[in-house]
Symmetry: C2
Subunit: 194 residues, 2 copies
């Protein structure tokens, strides 16, 4: 049986991917990097945590996306600089020892790491809408609007930096539907593959 040392969790907004990562790390007794990652990227880059947090989820879409890239005629942008730090932090963490890393394109950054289990967690819109209201409460936008926007921005960010099609099964060693299988089963499956 092949074994893994690192698990990366890429996830749709509201799918419970973060919860799965945390529970898995707890059961495996290894660290889970999520907000800790943002803290470290902020520390090494000198940017505020709130800014680091926002970058991945506020990549422009539509006409603004061409501006986002054409910007680069004037040299690397803040996002490019952050991307470099993010890459460095994730490679260092993976080097340091076994861990679970949630989000931040860790799947792509660690794609040449043979013992990295890259996982993608997805779920139906209905389930995710219900879940984000439970977890984050009501907002001015409907939960469906918030999800569609986040999905679009994550996909745009991924496409720009990784050239990977977001949500495509071949990008990951395993993809799981958290609504159909349940959070506990997703954790159990990842655990036996670790």
């Amino acid at each position: 049986m092949k074994k893994h040392r690192i698990v990366t969790i890429s996830r749709e907004f509201g799918s419970g991917g973060r919860t799965i990562g945390k529970k898995l790390a707890e059961e495996l007794k290894i660290p889970c990097y999520d907000s800790e990652l943002i803290h470290e990227i902020a520390r090494q880059s000198g940017f505020a945590e709130a800014y680091v947090q926002r970058v991945e989820e506020s990549s422009p879409t539509g006409w603004a996306a061409s501006l986002f890239s054409s910007n680069r005629a004037f040299g690397p942008t803040n996002e490019d600089y952050l991307w470099e730090i993010q890459r460095k932090v994730i490679l260092e963490l993976a080097e340091k020892g076994p861990c679970v890393i949630v989000g931040r394109c860790a799947d792509y950054i660690l794609r040449h790491t043979a013992d990295c289990l890259t996982a993608f967690i997805h779920a139906s819109m209905e389930y995710r809408a219900k879940r984000i209201v439970e977890v984050c409460g009501e907002r001015e936008q409907t939960p469906e609007e918030r999800i569609r926007e986040k999905d679009k921005r994550r996909a745009a960010f991924h496409r720009f930096y990784t050239d990977m099609k977001w949500g495509y099964a071949k990008n990951y060693r395993i993809s799981l539907d958290s609504r159909a299988l349940g959070i506990a089963q997703c954790v159990a499956v990842l655990k036996i593959l670790y």
Copy 2:
């Protein structure tokens, strides 16, 4: 824990999906429908088994694909008739009892069956090329050409009849990379979800 009664295996050509389905069914002591399915569709439709076998894998691509659909101006084609029989046979089998069904768009046909575990098996081109030479031997075309052609035709067939994007993680409850995880681990994972 949610449990499943039926498993459908959709797979890339050469990924070992069929082997995974057969081993899983053996371990679960339930039937696996693969060539048996073709036999039954042939019996109910009156077409030859070789023809039934070929239809899914010989859907036209490129300019011929528009002909494939525009054909329908003259009424349903043989493929449409076969599709109806295929649908009926798969629904009947799922009704009959627990089983594993390989290929034939069973994932789509059973998409409203709550206790159906829809799985997609994929692997790198390199692995698949090596595997098809081992399993089917050398042909005039290179293994890579054979794979690219089969992939294209399966995707075209799926798109036409199911309107699903082939290879997209959200279509399945679970997607697995058989090269990275190994056949035995794929079987083990599906077994705990059953």
